[in-house]
Amino acid sequence: MNMLTLPPTIPILSLIWLSMVLPVALIAVVPASRITLIRVIGTGFALLSLVLAGLVFLAYDQGQSGFQFVERLAWIPQLGINYYLGVDGITVPMLLLNGLVIFTGALMSWNIEQRAKEYWILLLLLTAGVYGVFAALDLFLLFVFYELAVLPMYLLIGVWGSTRREYGAMKLTLFLMAGSALALIGILAIYFGSGLRTFDIPRLAANVNFGQQYQVLFFLPLFVGFAVLAGMFPFHTWSPTGHVAAPTAVSMLHAGVLMKLGAYACLRIALWLMPHGAAQWLPAIAILTIFNVVYGATIAMVQRDAKFMIGYSSVSHMGLVMMALAAGTQIALTGAVLQMFAHGIMTALFFSVVGRMVYERTHTRQLGELGGLGRVMPFAAVMFITAGLSGMGMPGLAGFWAEFTIFIGVWERYPLLAIIAVISIPVTAAYVLHAIYRVFYANVDNPHLHDLPPLTWQEITGALILATVLIGVGFAPGILTDMIAAGVRPIAQQLQGVGW
């Protein structure tokens, strides 16, 4: 059942990622002094990519399983590498998420004055990489896009960032590239282990019963390599420093979408293509994710810098995703993907309020110095509360359905861990409410906060879009869950098939 039909001759998935490369070429020839033109081009194409992702979402036939909108061309036939794109129930919501975050992120980037040309080029290249990862069905192609999505981050944070930007940028880049080096070991292992000499993911997935010991050996570098990007404990330390240092739109993209790339790759590649290895290692991984969930939330509680608090809350929330992956059941995986979506939108909203609306005006993010902001900026307060409530898992918002599904799924497999993980819910509530109280409602009359410039239309539009999605999915989760459940079914079945 799909709401509209696209003509099959349109290579819509290629168009989506190309719509982020084309403006790079355009912006490169625009003189650097025409900042507004550059912004319009960047935002316009971001909107275009969102519209295209939305079209894919609407045209995706939920009644059919398997990959749709498939495009396939021989690329490097000598090595069995194809240009192979396609989407299923997992990646359609991810494309939509990326479209939403890049469009709102573009809106939030209108205040970048210094070296705007380079900024937009890098931002769009990064997004092209993200779109590519979600659409790619060839391991090599996926890896190429994956690195394209990670590398521009170094310059984006290093040049346009704030607090300890060079340190944050270098740490983030080295961690993530070390992760991708590990993952490459796993990818080569699949290529040779399967004996198929192809990087074609669906074909590899149909033939996973190769050497069990071999899979046990190479599952770990593969999974851990990608999990670094998902912020899994103990490889999460790059994430808070990186997010704090990054400019707002980059934080939004990074916490909102990039960390999902890691989780997505773990799901799509590690779990799907090496199920025998997964069956051995998942319990150990589940134990590590407990640290993410509980420890991340606890650390978030003691942060004084609002961005650090959100950074650690991301560690905690992504920990839930990873825990659900480690549970590996149909319900848990559905919850994981839903949480990726919900957390992406939520954290983008968080960063746009804290990083853009508040910090750009007050030049501080210290919770203690921002008391009484609610009176000056009621809109920002409402947005922050919306995101916060979703993060706490309040019914009626997207986060609730995601966390609820995850806890049910994890309970099936590891009841004890589910109970421990539930601790994170009150802790999350505590730090979110604490932050809301300190920033917006503490009854302080802070002279620094008088005469702040009003919010711009870009900020308001962007935040409203994100909040609407959070609430919309909260009230009608069915528009995503059916699709996601169909998408993760082959992976859950794969795991079941090896006795998980």
Binding site: I76, Q78, V144, E147, L151, E166, M170, T173
Partner: protein, 549 residues
């Protein structure tokens, strides 16, 4: 085997390079004593243009002759053009039909042709880089030495006989010693030239010693061997040596000694650990454009030579690069250890460098480690598809030449403007000249192995080939070594993008230097996005190397 008239088209590129070198030298002779500022500039331009045009034309001729673009079908009508092309393409390998080496000394197989294309192409790009140099006093000499060195490299790629091999190496190296020390008034350049010469002379001596041991062993077995069974009458040719060693059975220690010395001698030329000591000093001191040439073409020629010597002379001591097997050893085992050492030491030594050229020198050593992996992969006995190793190695060499010439080219431009080749000289380049900074980013990311640039596919392919040869431990070391490598490459980009400039005046970009850089960058991007056509060409090399076993 005597020299036949029909051999002339087969060695036409070498003949043309020699003619070009003499032409450049001769054209400048009559103006040698004119040294007004304007005249010197004109002489420099004239010699540079002649060299660039000549090299470009020779490159085109080699490409036409190779048949990679177009082969005249046998059924084509005879007219002026098809006859010309047929004559050019006579004696060039087609399919599995590879002609025997010219006088048993010089093979004109696919390996040689690819080498010729690589060396003349690199020389062409380097000559473009020197066009906007501050004018040289004796440009004729400078450019003819460059072309002669290129000729030596072509001979290195094709040499199939010990004497030829040695002459080719010397013809390559001696002009390079002079070119490295070309700025006589610059202490660093003189030091570089002297150091390069001394190290080079020692390494030649070591190589020669190894060759004499190898030859002596072959000659001593020749008494008892069936000489009529040899495929060539020249005992020093690689084919005879291999056949004699095969007849002698179990390799004697003296043969292994000889091989070891030969590997050490070639190891100096390609700058792998522990024979790398000269390269940072020479790369730093030599004129930057010459560093670009030495670090790419000369290193590539060394690898062509290493590949051919090891594959065709020593196939019976190939050994095994996988430590868990009992027969770990042979030259693949040794090279695997050297590759691992090279990757680790070079990448760590690069970390604290503050001079951009010196840093790139260490990065060049690290890349030699990757290239060695290709040599190992194509020979390892457990490899199910050895072809992958050769193709990966050659692809890597092509890409490495492009990205290193580019990176050194950018540093040459910056050094011309700021007078310094420290990393700090790059500070704020993005604000002074965004185009140049973008090109530099392409080269550095390619060196670091970031997709979709060709440097990534090169590394990926080499690792794939080595994994296929079952030397997984080496792949893991290589992957780990890319992390410190990324750190020092990012330090360069940090200077370019993040550190504010000392002065914000726009940096001028000389036209021809930029042309050379743009060509390199575009090729890096195109080869990275569409490697398949180049791989198709490189795959033909199998006919030579593997048939030689």
């Amino acid at each position: 085997m005597s020299f036949l008239l029909t051999n002339i088209p087969r060695i036409l590129p070498e003949i043309l390079l020699l003619v070009l070198a003499l032409l450049i030298l001769g054209s400048d002779v009559f103006e040698r004593w004119a040294d007004g500022e304007q005249v010197v500039l004109e002489r420099h331009r004239a010699s540079a243009s002649l060299a660039a045009l000549g090299l470009g034309m020779i490159f085109a001729i080699i490409l036409l002759q190779s048949g990679y673009l177009y082969t005249v079908p046998d059924t084509a009508d005879s007219n002026y053009f098809t006859n010309l092309l047929r004559n050019l393409q006579a004696g060039i390998p087609r399919g599995s039909n590879v002609p025997l080496p010219v006088m048993d000394m010089f093979a004109t197989d696919h390996l040689t042709i690819i080498g010729r294309l690589l060396f003349t192409g690199a020389a062409f790009l380097v000559v473009l880089l020197t066009y906007d140099h501050p004018p040289l006093r004796n440009p004729g000499e400078f450019y003819s030495l460059l072309v002669l060195s290129t000729l030596g490299m072509c001979l290195m790629a094709g040499a199939t006989e010990l004497i030829m091999l040695f002459l080719a190496i010397e013809l390559t190296s001696i002009p390079l010693y002079i070119l490295a020390g070309y700025f006589r008034n610059d202490r660093q350049s003189v030091e570089a030239g002297m150091k390069y010469f001394l190290y080079g002379a020692f390494s030649s001596a070591i190589l020669l010693y190894g060759m004499s041991l190898v030859y002596g062993y072959a000659a001593s077995t020749a008494g008892s061997a069936d000489l009529t069974a040899l495929s060539t009458s020249v005992i020093t040719s690689f084919d005879s040596l291999r056949e004699l060693f095969a007849q002698a059975g179990e390799p004697a220690p003296i043969l292994l000694m000889g091989m070891l010395f030969m590997i050490a001698g070639i190891g100096y030329k390609i700058a792998i650990v522990p024979f790398h000591g000269w390269s940072p000093d020479v790369y730093q001191g030599a004129p930057t454009t010459m560093t670009a040439f030495i670090s790419t073409a000369s290193k590539a020629a060394g690898f062509f030579l290493l590949l051919r010597v090891l594959d065709t002379v020593f196939p019976n001591v190939v050994g095994n690069p996988i430590p868990v097997f009992d027969e770990f050893g042979g030259w693949t085992g040794m090279l695997a250890l050297l590759a691992a050492l090279t990757l680790i030491i070079a990448n760590l030594a690069a970390l604290p460098q503050t001079n951009a050229k010196r840093l790139l020198a260490y990065s060049g050593i690290a890349h030699a480690g990757f290239l060695l992996m290709g040599v190992i992969a194509q020979a390892a006995p457990f490899n199910t598809d050895r072809l992958n190793g050769v193709v990966a190695l050659l692809y890597y060499l092509v890409v490495y030449a492009l990205m290193n010439i580019g990176a050194f080219g950018v540093i040459a431009i910056v050094a011309q403007d700021t007078g310094s080749d420290e990393i700090t000289a790059l500070n704020g380049l993005a604000q002074r000249n965004l185009g140049l900074a973008a090109l530099f980013t392409v080269f550095i990311f390619a060196l670091a192995g970031i997709p979709p640039l060709a440097g990534f596919f090169a590394k990926f392919y080499i690792m794939l080939a080595v994994w296929q040869a079952n030397a997984i431990w080496l792949v893991v070391i290589a992957l780990i070594s890319t992390i410190p490598a990324l750190y020092y490459y990012l330090r360069l980009l940090r200077a370019v993008f993040i550190v504010p400039p000392d002065n914000s005046t726009p940096m001028p970009t000389p036209r021809w230097m930029m042309a050379s850089l743009v060509v390199s960058a575009v090729l890096i991007l195109v080869l990275g996005l569409f490697p398949a056509p180049l791989l198709d060409v490189l795959e033909q090399v199998q006919v030579v190397v593997i048939a030689g076993r």
